[in-house]
C-alpha cells in the first residue's frame, strides 16, 4: 500500500478500517464489509481526484511512488540497452539514454530518472541533471538521427541542478545548445511529461514534434515555492502560486503548449502503474504512427511552426499603435 497524500485523508481513514478488519479472523460478513469499503475507497478517490487543485497536482506529480522513466521503460520496451556518458566529461545518471524496441521498432529512449530509495536518489541526484546529462542526451539523439530512429523522451525533473559545478561546466550553454539543435533533428521526437516538468531542466530535452502530458503531471517555469518566495515574498503562498502559474495539463493544452493529455488511473499513476502504462502506450504509439508518416523535412518545418506559434494565438500579444517619439522611426 503506497502512502496517501494529505488531501486523501478520507481515503486514508477507509484504508485503516480495511486493514483493521483484515487483521481479524476471516468471515463471510467481514469479507463483504471489506469489499464494500474497497468500493467506497475507489469512489471517494475518484471524487477527490476529479477536482484536484493545481497544488495538489504538484504533490501527485512529485509522489515518491509515482512511476519513473525506467518503470515505463521496463513495461513498454524490449531489449533496452543503456548508453552512458557525454564523451566530454562524465556520465550523468540523472538522465538516462538508450536504444530499445518499441512495438518491434527500434527507437531511442531518453529521460530524467529520479530514483526511488535513498541510494538510488543519490545516484540519480534526485533527477536534477548536470550539464553532462544534457550533453549525453543530445549525443544520443544525434545517434538516433544518424540511423533514422525516432526519439521518445520522458520528462520528470524538479529542475536542472543548481550547483557550483553546473555553472562551472556551463549548464546554461548545455540547455541552450540542446534547444537549438533539437529544433533541427531530422527524426520524429515524441515528448511525454510524466511527472514534474521543471523549467529549463525539463525543456532542455523536451523540444519535439508532439508533446504529451500525463493527467496529473505539471510543467512550470518555476516551482510554486520559488515563485511564492519571489513574488509574494512568502514561500507559504505556494498554493496560490501553483494556481497562478497555470501549470496543469488542462491549462497547458489550452495554451497550445502540449498536444494531448494522457489519462491516469484514479488516484494517480502510482495507484496502478500497469493501467497508467497502458494509457501511455496508447498515446505514444498513436503519436508515433502519425509522426512516422511525415517526411523529415516536413517534420522539421512543422516543429519550427509549432514553437513559432506559441503565445501568438490570441492569448499573449497585442499590437499597440505607437507614435514616433524619438528621431528614430518605428515600423
Amino acid at each position: 500500500m503506497v502512502d496517501t497524500l494529505e488531501f486523501e485523508e478520507p481515503v486514508a481513514v477507509l484504508l485503516k478500517e480495511i486493514e483493521a478488519l483484515s487483521q481479524r479472523p476471516q468471515t463471510e460478513g467481514r469479507d463483504a464489509e471489506i469489499a464494500g469499503l474497497r468500493r467506497r475507497v475507489t469512489q471517494v478517490r475518484r471524487e477527490i481526484f476529479s477536482r484536484l487543485t493545481p497544488w495538489q497536482r504538484v504533490l501527485v506529480a512529485r509522489h515518491a511512488a509515482r512511476p519513473h522513466m525506467l518503470d515505463y521503460v521496463a513495461r513498454l520496451f524490449v531489449d533496452f540497452t543503456e548508453i552512458h556518458g557525454d564523451r566530454r566529461f562524465a556520465d550523468d545518471e540523472a538522465i538516462v539514454a538508450g536504444f530499445a524496441q518499441y512495438h518491434s521498432e527500434a527507437v531511442l529512449v531518453v529521460g530524467h530518472q529520479k530514483g526511488r530509495d535513498t541510494q538510488q536518489k543519490i545516484k540519480r541526484n534526485f533527477g536534477y541533471a548536470r550539464p553532462e546529462g544534457y550533453r549525453k542526451a543530445l549525443r544520443a539523439m544525434r545517434l538516433a538521427e544518424k540511423f533514422h530512429r525516432p526519439i521518445i523522451v520522458f520528462v520528470d525533473t524538479p529542475a536542472a541542478y543548481p550547483g557550483v559545478e553546473s555553472e562551472e561546466r556551463g549548464i546554461a550553454e548545455a540547455i541552450a545548445y540542446n534547444l537549438r539543435e533539437m529544433a533541427l533533428l531530422a527524426v520524429p521526437i515524441l515528448i511525454i511529461v510524466t511527472g514534474e516538468g521543471g523549467s529549463g531542466g525539463a525543456l532542455g530535452i523536451a523540444v519535439g514534434d508532439r508533446i504529451l502530458m500525463q493527467e496529473f503531471a505539471v510543467y512550470s517555469v518555476i516551482p510554486p515555492e520559488g515563485c511564492a518566495a519571489i513574488l509574494w515574498r512568502d514561500a507559504v503562498k505556494k498554493v496560490e502560486a501553483a494556481d497562478a502559474l497555470k501549470l496543469t495539463a488542462v491549462d497547458l493544452l489550452k495554451y497550445g503548449i502540449i498536444d494531448a493529455i494522457v489519462p491516469e488511473p484514479d488516484g494517480g499513476a502510482h495507484q496502478d502503474p500497469d493501467a497508467a502504462t497502458r494509457a501511455v502506450d496508447a498515446a505514444l504509439s498513436d503519436a508515433l504512427t502519425r509522426l512516422r508518416a511525415e517526411p523529415a523535412e516536413t517534420l522539421v518545418n512543422r516543429r519550427y511552426e509549432k514553437y513559432r506559434r506559441i503565445g501568438r494565438l490570441g492569448a499573449g500579444i497585442v499590437d499597440i499603435p505607437t507614435t514616433g517619439t524619438t528621431k528614430n522611426t518605428t515600423t
Partner: protein, 308 residues
Amino acid sequence: MAWFKRERKPITPPDRASRVPEGLWVKCPRCGQALYHKDLAANLHVCPKCSHHFRLGALDRLRALLDDERWVEHDAGLRSTDPLSFIDAKPYTQRLEAAVEATGHNDAVVCVTGRLDGTDVEMAAMEYSFIGGSMGVVVGEKITGAIERALAHRRPLIVVSCSGGARMMEGTLSLMQMAKVSAALARLDRARLPYISVLTDPTTGGVTASFAMLGDLNIAEPKALIGFAGPRVIEQTIRQKLPEGFQTSEFLLDHGFVDMVVDRRELQPTIARALRFMRPPAEPAPSPGEADEAAKPAGSPPENAPAR
C-alpha cells in the same frame, strides 16, 4: 528560472538621458567617485576612475553601438495581454502598466535595424528596468522576429542581453520562448549568418540558457553577473557561501563559456572587427576555369551579398 536581484545594492543608473535633469551628479557605487552625469554619459556610463560599468538602458545601448545613433525600430507596439490573468501581490496588468509608464517601452526588449560600422545589422537590446528584463511572450516574439529579418535580408544579428530570465507571470508560455528563439537561431546558424551575443549585467536564467549562450561570439561586459541558477538558490542547495567572483564574466571566461570580456568603450570596434571576419565574401574568388567570367567588369552581385 526566476528573474532576481543581485544581493548587492541595486544600481539605478540614469538609463534614459532625457529623463535625467541637467547637472545631476551620480556617485559611482564601486569607487565612490562623484561623477557629473554628462561626463558619465559621454563615457558610455563607465566610471572614468574605476571602469565600473553602470547598467545601460536599451536606447543608450543602441546609441552606443549603431552608426549615427540612427535605426528603425520593429514591433514597438507589441504588448503582453496577460495570457494567464496572473495575480500575485498585485495583478500583472498593473505591473505591466507601471513598467510601460516608467520606461516608455511596451516590453523588455527593443529590436531595430541599423548600421554598425557601415554594415546593416538586426539588433535587439534588452531593457532591465522593464520587469527585470524578463522574457515573456513579447520578448520571445520580438527577438524571433529580429532573427527572421536577419535571415530574410541576410544580415548579422546582435543581441544585447540584460535579464533576470523567464517572466514568471507568463508561466510556461515564457519558458517556451526559450525554445522558440533557439529554433530560429538554429536556422540562422545553418544559413551561415553571424550572431553576436553580448552579455551584460545581469544575464541569468532562461535568457542565459537560450539565446545569450548561442552566439558565434559570446562577448561579456566586465564583472557582469552571468549564470543560470540564482546565487541564492545555489547557496541554499549547497548550504555554503559561494566563492568570490562566482558567476561573473571573468568566471565564464575562465571556464570557456564566453569568448572575451570587453570594456564597453571597446565594444563597438570589437563587434565591427568580428563582423569583418564573419561577413560573407563580397565576391566569390575566381576559380581557374572561370577566369573569363571573373574578368567581366561590374557583374551582377552575388546573391548572398548583404542587403544595402
